[in-house]
Structure formats: C-alpha cells, structure tokens
Symmetry: C2
C-alpha cells in the first residue's frame, strides 16, 4: 500500500512537471489584509519534485504577505491551465540561492546572487488541478487524483492531484 | 476635483480593458478552508467597465467558496500579466445571464442559458496591477495609480491601478 501511494505520488509529480514545462512565468497569489493579490514570478529551472521554488527580496510586499499568511496559489498558464495550492516557507540559504540562480533572475530582481536581501520562497504543493485545452474555445477538463484512504472524487468536472 | 478623479478612474478602466483584450480565459482565485485555489474561467465578451462578470453553476466548488469568502483575484496572462484584486457578488438574474450568454458558455458549462442552476459572479475590481513583457526573459514593470487623497506610490516597482 505504501509503495502504491508512493508510485501515485511520483506519477502526480511527473504530471505536474510536464504541465509546467516551458512556462517561464507563473502567477503567485497571496493573501493580504485587503484581499488576494497575484504577480508574475520567474519559475525555477531546477526540476519540480513536489516543491516550487521562487526567488524574491525581503523588502517586497509578497515577502510581507507570506510572513503573515503562508497560503498561496501558483497558476501556470500555457497550453494547459495548472493551479497549485500550497503553503509557502521563506528560506534564507545562500547555498540554495546559488543553486537556483541564473541570468534571468539578475534581470528580474536587478541584483546579484550574493545580495543578502534575497530570499527563497519554497511552496509545498498540496494539490494541483489542471485543465487542458486544444483551442481557446474548447476546454477539455481532465481529472487525476492520488489514491488515498478517503480519495473520493470531487464534482468530477476537473481533476485534482493530491501532492501532500 | 470630482471630475479629475472620474477621468483618472476612466483612464484606469480603459487601461485594464486594453490589457484584457483578446484574453479569453482568466484564472480566478478563491479562498477555501484549505488554502487558495484557482481555475480557468471564460472571460466576458461585454466591455469591462470596472466590474468583471463570470458565469458558473450553483453546484460548484467555486460557488461555495464565494459564499463563504468573497475575496478573489483574477489574473490575465497574455502579452502582459494583469492581476485584479476584487470582491465577488453572486447574482441570480436570468436577464443578465441572457445578456452575457454566448456559444462558448454552452460548451464550457454544458448547459443552456435558461438553466436555473446558472449564476453570475460579479467581481468588483478594487485594484489592478500589470506587468508588461517584451519577451519571456525580460519583464518590464510599469506603474499607474489613480490620484487619490493619499495616492502615494508603493514600492515603485510595478504599477497599481486603484479602481475602487
């Protein structure tokens, strides 16, 4: 049973990884006192393994948002629509920053990898849902779900991947 | 002064309208007990005037989410990235549904416009932020803000349009 769950989890991670492929920018939504805000974030080039990694600076609004409420959504819009629900952790690790750093961040964040103001946002993905579309006028909804003890399906209209 | 504010509001609405143009699907993020979820929604074909209108069914998760928490974010991903923070109202109006109805909804929602299960989601846009991008590797952040009594700029890194 444990192996079965692990396999399914691995399949879910791989499905999500495929859906993210080639999408350089994701929309990260956070909770503020006034409501929900989202902003484009450069996606990681390191392979997705269940956690999403973003880089930001400590003197930004999103850092403040995440300190007071770690619930986030990450949406990937490309050929498919992928929605990841998760919890964010703020991680200060110069070694990890160097691992994730690339030239694109230098432009986006207008700094270098040794900037002490840099911080990593690690989003532990809890569920992922996706919708596939052939054209913009016809959306095909598909469903996957990790087999768990209470792994009942939702409405059956779209698919939720349990990543937790 | 009133005229000035109205003009600026009108300009903000027009800017947002231009940014939305040609984007058929937006990501609507809502708050659930477990965290933040988003899903693709067919955008309206009627012109944006400060409110965003979506169509859904009452037997869906998003309807339940909105009943318990009306805070939403609507993200439009196209040539630019547009984030709209707002509050949702659920409106049951057969006349309004007929006004917004078109063939695309028939496919998405798998029903006809006289379905009593249909309901309108009206999102009162409170702020909008956008980021322009020439290519996926260079993001140019721009800032607009409605002139208000305390209309101070944020970080200056991106632009917020006050629509409230």
């Amino acid at each position: 049973m444990a192996t079965h769950t692990a396999d399914t989890h691995q399949e879910a991670v791989e499905t999500v990884r495929d859906l993210m492929k080639g999408i350089d920018i994701a929309m990260l939504t956070t909770v503020t006192d006034e409501g929900l805000v989202s902003r484009p974030m450069k996606t990681q080039e390191v392979e997705f393994d269940g956690d999403l990694w973003f880089l930001t600076k400590k003197d930004t609004g999103k850092y403040e948002d995440l300190v007071s409420n770690p619930h986030v959504n990450v949406a990937f819009v490309g050929k498919s629509y992928l929605s990841v629900r998760g919890t964010a952790e703020l991680i200060q690790s110069p070694a990890k920053i160097r691992e994730y750093w690339n030239a694109a961040y230098e432009k986006f964040l207008e700094t270098s990898s040794d900037d002490p103001n840099l911080i990593l946002i690690k989003v532990k993905a809890e569920t992922a849902e996706y919708w596939e579309t052939g054209s913009m006028t016809k959306m095909v909804k598909r469903l996957f779900q990790k087999i768990t003890g209470n792994g009942e399906k939702d409405s059956g209209l779209n698919e939720t991947i349990e990543l937790g």
